[in-house]
């Protein structure tokens, strides 16, 4: 990545600062006192050199956080044709659920206009999960309703896709449903779910990887 190897010059600088530190303790010759004044500058210089990346190695656009931190899975036509959703899984087991770019909602004119979390038996946005142990988190099945996404002409149900505890819904979508249109795979995520390891393994078998999903959708 952005590793800058320590040049000989900075190595020398660092040894000088160690010596001057020793000089401070021993309070000896005057020449080292001069080095001490410069010491602070040396440190900054070293830091600066370390921080400056090698331009030639930089990509034009960096990989997104989603790309680097999550493994992407897809659930095409979940319970209904055209309802394509994604499940991004983090190495720590948490799953972020949202609308895949090929979801029918995006084909409607004007795109997504509103999001309502008050579905099923409760308002999903009203749940407050607290503590490390995630008390109060509701356990949902993969077909439990998360929210309704409304466009000008129609409304679509979004479901969990993964059996587990609901940790968080993206309540920003209530005020800013346009996030779904602009970045459904990042800021426009729908919810975060915590499945048990066994439940995840079961669901994983039914999901598609990125390549498979692309191939499938290209055919349409």
């Amino acid at each position: 990545m952005l590793q800058v190897p320590m040049t000989d010059q900075s190595a020398q600088q660092s040894s000088i600062s160690t010596d001057s530190a020793a000089a401070q303790n021993n309070s000896s010759s005057t020449e080292l006192k001069e080095v001490r004044k410069v010491d602070g500058d040396d440190e900054d210089k070293e830091l600066h050199e370390l921080l400056m990346p090698d331009v030639r190695n930089l990509p034009l656009a960096p990989p997104s956080a989603v790309e680097s931190n999550f493994v992407a899975y897809f659930a095409p036509d979940f319970m209904k044709p055209g309802h394509d959703q994604y499940v991004y899984r983090h190495p720590n087991g948490l799953c972020v659920v949202g609308l895949a770019p090929t979801h029918v909602a995006f084909r409607d004119e004007g795109g997504v206009m509103g999001v309502d979390f008050n579905v099923g038996k409760s308002d999903r946005s009203a749940i407050k999960v607290t503590g490390k142990r995630k008390k109060n988190a509701q356990h949902f099945e993969s077909n439990t309703m998360l929210c309704k996404v409304c466009t000008k002409s129609d409304s679509y149900v979004v479901r969990c896709c993964v059996k587990g505890s609901l940790l968080e819904v993206n309540e920003r979508l209530i005020k800013q449903p346009d996030l779904l249109n602009s970045s459904a795979d990042r800021e426009g995520y729908i919810a975060i779910i915590m499945p048990k390891p066994a439940d995840w393994l079961k669901v994983k078998a039914t999901l598609l990887g990125l390549e498979e999903y692309k191939r499938l959708k290209e055919q349409c």
């Binding site: 990545m1 160690t18 440190e43 370390l50 960096p62 720590n92 087991g93 948490l94 503590g131 490390k132």
Partner: protein, 513 residues
């Protein structure tokens, strides 16, 4: 011939006594007076119960003769011989026999089980020497020297089997009942009994001070003597006759150090008697009182008592090194990170720094503490992260010069993964510094940023004019599985950028909390 031999042995005794007298005339004088001051029939009773001389003194609460170094039992009996104890004692095979060349098995004290007599059982043979105390001190000093400990003071910790306390209690209550009134008239009581541990400590203290050349005190060096019952003692099943196990368990926490022995005793008790737990705790607590007189006679009858096994260890208080570290590699974790026996990453900061220090101090183990953490794929630059290395049982406390050497050695290693600054020995203030460092938490971060459009001057101005901006950070998904989902307040103190390319900025962000 026999007469001559007897006369010779008597002469030997005289010569020995003379030698002793020349060594510690004043001591001996005081000793003689002390002996004479004790009620003779009580003493006679105790002696016939095989209570050693030091225990007799401490039961009566006399400190000086108890701690007299040249106190051999023979001298004691010599003193009391005029009181016609000789007959019964010789019949019982007394400790007088120490004078003869062939040593028959010496009698172990029924109260202290040989602890104050300095008889130790090595599981192989009974170690008895005339000068048990000084021999023990010598062996301890030898161990300390072998380990190579440096210290200016030492402390003693003693752990004794709880049966000695039971024995003491039995004897005390017996004596109070039998001689209580007599002692009261002499203005004495048994309540001044000196505890076994203190007696032992005061005995061993002086020779150790001389041999080690340092003072006794709270000292960083701790010498622990652990006396444990030899398994053979249980064969006489003295325990479940006393029925004192339940009481012993309560007593077990008297001086915190006994718990191990208490457990071990009951463990061994179960093995030897071959019966389960219930047998030993069968007898009710106050059963002790009922059995007392009969128990005492049992004490008298059961002459075979094995002395305890002794093990001693020395351990020094840990020392602490403080400093700051920098991490230049994106493949080095902070602490040793293993998943299923596989190491994650190339190395760990903890190992690089601590193993070097541990080697120089010749310690047993290290513990690494840092004020905060960073991920493995993140570098630690700038002034560095404060850390503390705790070295347990160090044999050698390095000087300032040596500490500088250690720092230099870490910094000049081939791989240049980690660097250390300001390494030094710290006392207990090291911990407060760490806590402060964690609480204050003003951190500097550097990030490489890609901007999606060209930047203009107004943009740069708005970036660099940020001062103490409050933001709310929601728990990142990365840690959401183990932290509470909360919005936490953060403050961005300032932003500095290095304008790199039209589309790239490096930002240094300083944050707090």
């Amino acid at each position: 011939m026999a007469d001559e031999a007897a006369a010779d042995s008597l002469l030997d005794v005289e010569r020995q006594e003379a030698a002793l007298a020349s060594d510690g005339d004043a001591d001996l004088q005081a000793f003689r007076e002390a002996v004479h001051s004790l009620p003779s029939d009580a003493v006679k009773d105790l002696m016939s119960a095989w209570v050693c001389s030091r225990c007799i003194f401490r039961l009566f609460g006399l400190t000086e003769p108890c701690s007299c170094p040249c106190l051999s039992p023979s001298v004691f009996t010599e003193r009391l011989m005029p009181e016609n104890l000789v007959g019964s004692l010789i019949d019982g095979g007394s400790s007088e026999s120490e004078h003869s060349t062939s040593l028959p098995e010496p009698v172990v004290c029924s109260v202290c089980l040989g602890i104050l007599q300095f008889y130790h059982n090595n599981d192989v043979q009974l170690l008895v020497s005339k000068d048990g105390m000084n021999d023990l001190a010598a062996s301890i000093a030898e161990l300390v020297k072998q380990e190579g400990h440096q210290t200016d003071s030492f402390s003693l910790e003693v752990s004794i089997p709880s049966i000695t306390l039971d024995n003491e209690r039995v004897i005390m209550s017996y004596m109070s009942r039998k001689y209580g009134s007599q002692l009261y008239s002499q203005e004495r009581s048994f309540s001044e009994c000196i505890c076994l541990k203190n007696a032992l400590k005061s005995l061993i203290k002086a020779p150790l001070e001389t041999l080690l050349g340092v003072k006794y005190g709270q000292g960083p060096l701790h010498i622990r003597l652990t006396y444990s019952e030899s398994s053979k003692t249980i064969e006489k099943s003295v325990e479940h006759k006393f029925g004192a196990t339940s009481k012993r368990r309560k007593k077990g926490n008297e001086n915190g150090l006994e718990t191990v022995d208490g457990l071990m005793n009951s463990g061994i008790g179960c093995i030897a008697t071959g019966v389960g737990h219930s047998v030993v705790t069968d007898t009710p607590v106050n059963g002790l009182q009922h059995h007392q007189s009969s128990d005492f006679s049992k004490l008298l009858l059961e002459k075979v008592r094995r002395p305890c096994s002794l093990s001693f260890h020395c351990n020094r208080d840990p020392i602490y090194f403080g400093g700051r570290y920098l991490k230049y590699s994106r493949n080095v974790s902070q602490t040793c990170w293993m998943i299923d026996e596989d190491r994650m990453g190339e190395a760990s900061v903890e190992e690089i720094i601590s193993s070097c220090i541990l080697l120089m101090c010749r310690g047993d183990k290290y513990k690494f503490h840092a004020a905060g953490r960073e991920d493995m794929d993140v570098r630690m630059l700038g002034s560095g992260r404060p850390f503390l290395v705790e070295i347990q049982n160090p044999r050698h406390v390095p000087s300032d010069v040596l500490v500088k050497d250690i720092e230099h050695k870490i910094n000049s290693s081939r791989e240049k993964l980690v660097r250390v600054k300001n390494l030094k020995l710290v006392g207990s203030q090291g911990w407060t510094l760490m806590r402060e460092g964690e609480a204050e938490k003003q951190k500097q971060y550097a990030a490489l940023v890609w901007i999606s459009r060209p930047l203009e001057d107004p943009d740069l101005l708005s970036i660099s004019s940020v001062r103490d901006m409050c933001i709310l950070q929601r728990t990142p998904i990365r840690v959401l599985h183990r932290r509470s989902p909360l919005d936490r307040e953060k403050i961005i103190h300032w932003l500095v950028f290095f304008f790199f390319q039209l589309r790239v900025i490096i930002e240094r962000i300083k944050t707090c909390l």
